[in-house]
Structure formats: structure tokens, C-alpha cells
């Protein structure tokens, strides 16, 4: 029987056909949201639930892992017919795995997502619309800014589980040696930019050449934290309708000039830029700097007896302020996937995670900040250095509504990439005006795309 040999051409053609078919079949979903349309709170009384769902999260610390394990046990105790399978994954590659899972229909039922990434999922319509499962009372129990962080086009797609923000960790002895006697211990007394500049200048004078006054936490994906200076100067990253950049203005120039001074005056190490492998906590841990802007989630790392800060006594104070106080929105929400087979169970678990007792337990274990109004003003018994956590709690009140709206826009990853590229160039010799215009143009292009 004659047969046709397998030639390179036929192999290529066959492969092309298979791929083209696959590509065409793949070009279907996830181009936009598909809300349920059900009225808010219409399914809020979920009742008894059963089944098994998978909850994926990255284990940021032992405290977080313990917090989620505790929540699972308590939920299963309350709902004996329900099982929560915890899936602890590394942070690197976490969202790639989630995206592949969503495309292939194998995503976890529930997963953790940071506020800077949630916009991508809400705008693609791949999350479970939680609006029917939450009453107005439940929704308004969150701090308003954080309740907004999980909303998209008027619908709620997750629960704000915890938040974190930036404050200054500093070495007491270094500041004392520089003649800085008073450090703000109230938010209202936070250093102004001028006062902060004086502090940095004094430290520069007293520190050896190879040591620096401070380091800032804008490395890599933290580039958006530069915006805190913009907000402090009274500006914003985006226009009111979130469709255009708004950096090119007086506040933008002021913020840019101030942050460029960090390098010009050698207040920060020359490699404390955006594209580097050394983060602000690394500079503090290896005692290259006397102060460091750090997130509260890094407190356990700094306080670790074996590998933590070995440079002496350290504590925290507030971010500097200009015409306003401002800080960045950090932290994570928990969301469910739209295609989960157990939407009621997933919704019940999400609501359980943000009950007051559960949130208090998780935040205390993980040294993170709560998102419920009822807990925001309550002193929590943090597992590690509760004495320094009060600063972060109060600093979190300076996360403005503008900061939240701009951080959760669907194209925020592109905006943040634009900031990374342009700030990196701004800190390597660009003039202030040129740098501001370049940031503005890049952010504008990013938000438009």
C-alpha cells in the first residue's frame, strides 16, 4: 500500500494547522466583565454550605500561613460539610499560574490577589461577582478606600482582606549621633519635606562616606510608591476620569525635584533606584542606611533575632508630608473565580475571612493591618514588635481615595511599568522638567492602552 512520507513541509503544515485551530478556539473569552446582574445583597443569607474548594495564596510569612490555616480550621468547624483545600504557592509565578488556570479551567476556586493586580482580573470578567452575597451593611463595614479597591463598574468582586503601607524604620543611635533629638511620634507631627531634608542632611554629614541617610522602597514593582510624594505635594498620577496622566504639573515637578535630590545629595545609595536587585529592607539590614522606608509586612523580617536587623535599637516613624500626608496602598484582597463550581461556598468562605474575629486573628499573626472600620482604631496584639505597628496603623489612614482609585485601574501594571522605566531614567541624570514630561507621556500611553 503506497504511503506518503513524512516530509518537513508536511510536518510544518500540520503543525501550523493544529496551532491555528488552537489559536482560533482560544480567541474567545475574557475580553470583558460579565456581572451576574443580581441585586446587591439578594443572596447574602447563604446558609449551610457543602463541598470542597481550593484556596490558593502565597505564603508571605509563617504568620500568614498560620493565619490561613487557622481560618480553614474554623470555617470547617462551622460548616462540617465543607472542605477548604489550602494551596500555598511561591509568590514568584503565582499570578502566571492563576492566569493559566483561568484559561484552562483549572484555576483555584478562591485566590489571594494584591490591590495593584486586582484590576486586571475584574476588567476581564473572570471573578465571581460578590455583589449579591454582600449586604450594604457588610460592604460598608470596610474602610471606604479599601471597599472601593475591590469594586469595578459598581460591582464588588472580592473582599479586602488586609492592607499594608509604608513608614520609616530607623536606627535610634544613628539619628542621635547626627544630633536629631526629636522624632515624630504622632501622625500630625510627621516631618515636613523641609524637616526631612534637614534630617537627611545632618545624617549625611555624620555618616561615613559608604553609609547613607535612608533608602526608599520603590524598587521594581514598588515603583508606584513614588506616587506617595506626588500625593503629598497635592498632585495625582491620573486625571479625575482615570483616562489620562496628570503628572505634568507643579505638584509633579515638586515631587520629582524632591526625589531627584535624594540622589544628587547622596541621601540614598546610588543603586537605590528602580531596576536593581537590592531592596530598601536589604539596605537597612546590611546597615548601609540609617533609615529605610519599609512596609509593615517587613517588620517580622527586621525583628528576626537570627537574621534580622543587627545594627542596634530600631523603631518607626511616619512618612514625611508636604501639603498633605499620603502613603501607598498595599495589601491583598481575596477573590473567587467566576467559574467556580461552588459559588455559595466560595462566597461564604470569603465572608468568613473578613469577619471581625478572623481578621483580627490573621492580622495579629501576620503583623498586617485590618480593613474593617471596627478594627482600624482598635489596638491589635501583634505577634511581632507591636510597639512599632501603631505607626503603620495610623499611617494607613493617609492612604487617600485618589491613591486607591489610581492603584486599582485595570491597566495599572502598564502604568507601573511606565513608572519603572521613566523614574529609573529620571534618577540617572535627567533634568526635572524632562523627567516629568517623560513620566507623564509614558503613563498617559500606558493608561490609554
Amino acid at each position: 500500500m503506497p504511503h506518503s512520507p513524512l516530509t518537513r513541509r508536511s510536518l510544518l503544515v500540520g503543525a501550523l494547522g493544529v496551532v491555528a485551530a488552537g489559536a482560533l478556539s482560544g480567541c474567545v473569552a475574557n475580553n470583558g466583565p460579565d456581572p451576574s446582574g443580581a441585586a446587591a445583597g439578594s443572596r447574602a443569607d447563604i446558609g449551610e454550605v457543602s463541598g470542597t474548594i481550593r484556596f490558593a495564596f502565597w505564603g508571605g510569612s509563617d504568620g500568614e500561613n498560620a493565619g490561613f490555616a487557622h481560618a480553614k480550621r474554623e470555617f470547617e468547624r462551622r460548616h462540617p460539610k465543607a472542605t477548604i483545600e489550602l494551596q500555598t504557592l511561591p509568590y514568584d509565578g503565582f499570578f502566571s499560574g492563576i492566569d493559566r488556570g483561568i484559561l484552562s479551567g483549572t484555576a483555584p476556586d478562591v485566590f489571594r490577589v494584591d490591590y495593584t493586580s486586582i484590576g486586571k482580573y475584574t476588567s476581564h470578567g473572570v471573578l465571581l461577582d460578590l455583589t449579591p452575597y454582600l449586604t450594604e451593611t457588610e460592604r460598608s463595614a470596610f474602610l471606604p478606600a479599601l471597599a472601593d479597591a475591590v469594586r469595578f463598574e459598581g460591582r464588588t468582586y472580592g473582599v479586602p482582606h488586609q492592607t499594608d503601607t509604608t513608614a520609616i524604620a530607623f536606627n535610634r543611635a544613628a539619628l542621635r549621633e547626627a544630633g536629631i533629638r526629636a522624632v515624630p511620634d504622632r501622625l500630625d507631627d510627621a516631618w515636613t519635606w523641609e524637616e526631612f531634608s534637614d534630617v537627611a542632611t545632618k545624617l549625611r554629614r555624620t555618616l561615613p562616606d559608604g553609609k547613607y541617610p535612608f533608602a526608599y522602597d520603590w524598587t521594581a514593582a514598588g515603583a508606584y510608591r513614588w506616587s506617595s510624594f506626588l500625593y503629598q505635594a497635592g498632585g495625582s498620577l491620573l486625571s479625575e476620569d482615570l483616562r489620562h496622566a496628570a503628572v505634568d504639573g507643579d505638584p509633579g515637578r515638586k515631587a520629582m525635584a524632591f526625589t531627584q535630590r535624594f540622589f544628587d545629595e547622596r541621601w540614598v545609595p546610588a543603586n537605590n533606584t528602580i531596576k536593581t536587585t537590592v531592596y530598601s529592607d536589604n539596605f537597612f539590614l546590611n546597615q548601609t542606611v540609617a533609615m529605610s522606608f519599609v512596609g509593615d509586612f517587613l517588620v517580622p523580617e527586621l525583628a528576626d533575632r537570627a537574621n534580622g536587623y543587627q545594627g542596634g535599637e530600631w523603631t518607626t516613624t511616619y512618612m514625611p508630608r508636604d501639603v498633605a500626608a499620603a502613603s501607598d496602598l498595599g495589601g491583598n484582597a481575596v477573590v473567587a473565580t467566576r467559574d467556580t463550581e461552588h459559588p455559595e461556598l466560595a462566597a461564604a468562605f470569603l465572608k468568613f475571612l473578613v469577619e471581625e474575629d478572623q481578621m483580627r486573628d490573621f492580622c495579629q499573626r501576620a503583623n498586617e493591618l485590618p480593613t474593617l472600620r471596627s478594627l482600624a482604631d482598635t489596638p491589635l496584639d501583634y505577634a511581632v514588635r507591636p510597639d512599632v505597628m501603631d505607626v503603620f496603623t495610623r499611617q494607613a489612614t493617609t492612604i487617600t481615595e485618589t491613591a486607591v482609585r489610581e492603584t486599582v485601574v485595570p491597566g495599572f501594571a502598564s502604568v507601573n511599568t511606565a513608572l519603572q522605566d521613566q523614574l529609573e531614567l529620571a534618577f540617572h541624570g535627567r533634568g526635572t522638567d524632562q523627567a516629568v514630561r517623560a513620566v507623564d507621556a509614558a503613563v498617559d500611553a500606558a493608561v490609554a492602552s
Binding site: 503543525a15 489559536a23 502566571s96 492566569d99 484559561l103 521594581a220 536593581t276 491597566g411 507601573n416
Partner: protein, 317 residues
């Protein structure tokens, strides 16, 4: 006659069919064996090489994001690429990186191979030491490089200062950052160059060397006129492999510098990774695929040119 013919014919008839069956059986069985050997390879090549390659080409014609949101872009990604200054800077950086890693690495590898090919006490140990970095992953090499070249607390600057030399801004100066990446890459790659050249040197006929010595050739003349030309196939192989490695460099660069400072060490692949696969980046899969296809075509072109200009050399040598 008839009977003889019949006999012969019968004999022929009776003798040939078994031979035909045997030949046919052999062909059939060898065909089946060949198929059995071929199929796994063909399947692997199709699944892991051809399909991804063709799929990448298809994706490069789309605006595709990580959650499947897609629209047809035609040649839009390629048009954007041509006018993207960062892409061209990454091409230039990759060119500089290639220029300093390929010839320099091969020259050092050849020198070390010649040294370790002779009678040298502990040469097996030296060979192992020089080869060892090759088994370390590129990421680990990059992390190690980031520690060594840390401009505030790194070993290299401490060493320079102890020698009375000024410290170098390895991480905040584009030129020095590229130098650090090149040095770490050379450290890792020289072992491979040495290994291939050692194998080539073992194949050089000592009789040719002896004849040249008898004819009065000096050591340098023997190396330049006898040894090095006879290492042609090794040089060709290393040139192709090193060019491909250098064009595709990513892991060491990313782990050491993230492509910075500025775009000082952004190579073509690290740029593709950043625009397409960085979880906190824009995740423009179509654009990233277009960059990938360009890398593929350039690599193909380099290999093709080398085959063209050195065709038959490895056979004749």
C-alpha cells in the same frame, strides 16, 4: 531443457521467493524499527519545538494578554517594534554583550585548554575547577554576581579598595554594570569553551606537530599554523553555540541587574520577558512573541551565514 528450465525455474522459483520474503521482511521490520525510533523524536520535536514556534508566530500577530483577551493585530506588533527605541537599545546591548563574551571567552577557553592539554601536575583538578561554573544555573550565577558586585558591600569593591584602587559603581553605572554581567558570563562559559577545545586538541595528530618541529617551526608557529587551523571544527561549533547563547542571554542579566541601570543592561530577551511575562508588567504576549520571533530569525540568519561561509569545513578538516 524444459525440465531443466522447469527445474531451474522451479529451483529459482523455489529459491527466490524465500529470499524475496526475507528481503521484504527485513525491509518491513527495519521500516517498523525505523518508525519506532523516529516517532518519539518526531513527536517531541513537533510538540516541544515546532508547535511552540508556529504558535509564537501566530501570537505575534495578535494583541494577546495573559487572561486570553485578544484581538488581531496583523503586523502591528512588528511595526511597533521597529519604532521602539528600547528594543533597538536592547539590540545594541545584546551586540556589545555578544562582542565581548564570544571572542574573549573563546580565546581564554583556548588558552586554558592548551595549558591544560600539556603535562601539568593536577591538571584534572584544574580542568574540574574551570568547568564547574558551567554546571551552576544562570540564575545562581546572576545572584552570586549581584552579591560580588554589590557596590556598597560587595567582595569585588572591597578587594579593589584593599589594593588601594577606587571602588567601582557596578550597579549604578550602565557601562560598569554591563562589564560585571560580561565578567560573570565569561566565568561561567569559559569552562565550556575549554572543554570543546580540549576535545579538539586531543584529536590533533602529534605526528604533524613532530613534523613541523623537525622542519624548524617554533612553538608559536606550530600553534598558529598547525594547531589552530586543525581546531577549525571546534572553533566553528563554539562560535555558533556561543553566538546563540549570547543572543539569548537572560537569566544572568535578570538576576544581576533587572536590565538596569536605565536600560544599560537590557538585552533583547530580558526586554521580551519584561513586556510579556513579568507578572507585574504589561503582559503584552503578542508583542513579546514578536520580539521572540525576531530573535529566532536573527539567530537563524547568523547560523545560516556561518554555514554558508564555512560550509564543508568541519568535514574537510
Amino acid at each position: 531443457m524444459t525440465s531443466a528450465t522447469e527445474r531451474i525455474g522451479g529451483a529459482t522459483a523455489s529459491a527466490r521467493p524465500p529470499r524475496r520474503r526475507s528481503a521484504g521482511g527485513f525491509r518491513a521490520s527495519s521500516g517498523a524499527a525505523a518508525t519506532a525510533f523516529l516517532v518519539p523524536n518526531v513527536v517531541l520535536i513537533v510538540v516541544f519545538t515546532l508547535l511552540p514556534l508556529v504558535y509564537a508566530a501566530v501570537i505575534s500577530l495578535q494583541d494577546l494578554d495573559s487572561l486570553g483577551g485578544t484581538s488581531w493585530a496583523g503586523l502591528g506588533n512588528y511595526a511597533e517594534l521597529v519604532t521602539d527605541p528600547v528594543f533597538w537599545q536592547s539590540v545594541a546591548n545584546t551586540g556589545v554583550f555578544t562582542l565581548f563574551t564570544v571572542p574573549v571567552g573563546m580565546a581564554i577557553g583556548l588558552g586554558v585548554a592548551v595549558l591544560l592539554n600539556g603535562v601539568l601536575p593536577g591538571r584534572a583538578l584544574f580542568r574540574t575547577i574551570i568547568f564547574l561554573p558551567l554546571v551552576v544555573s544562570g540564575v545562581a550565577t546572576g545572584v552570586l554576581g549581584a552579591w560580588m558586585f554589590d557596590q556598597n558591600n560587595g567582595f569585588v569593591d572591597d578587594l579593589l579598595k584593599s589594593l588601594g584602587l577606587p571602588a567601582v559603581q557596578w550597579q549604578s553605572s550602565g557601562g560598569w554594570a554591563m562589564t560585571a554581567v560580561i565578567l560573570m558570563t565569561l566565568w561561567q562559559r569559559i569552562g565550556f569553551d575549554m572543554l570543546i577545545y580540549l576535545a579538539g586538541l586531543q584529536g590533533v595528530d602529534p605526528a604533524v606537530q613532530e613534523a613541523a618541529t623537525t622542519d624548524g617551526a617554533s612553538g608559536w608557529q606550530r600553534f598558529r599554523l598547525i594547531t589552530f587551523p586543525l581546531l577549525g571544527p571546534s572553533t566553528f561549533f563554539l562560535l555558533v553555540m556561543n553566538l546563540i547563547y549570547s543572543f539569548q542571554v537572560f537569566d544572568t542579566v535578570w538576576a544581576m541587574t533587572r536590565g538596569g541601570p536605565g536600560y544599560g543592561t537590557t538585552t533583547v530577551v530580558s526586554y521580551a520577558y519584561r513586556v510579556a511575562f513579568d507578572e507585574h508588567g504589561p503582559q503584552l504576549l503578542g508583542y513579546g512573541a514578536a520580539v521572540g520571533i525576531v530573535i529566532y530569525l536573527v539567530t537563524l540568519l547568523i547560523t545560516g551565514l556561518q554555514w554558508r561561509f564555512t560550509s564543508g569545513r568541519d568535514q574537510t578538516d
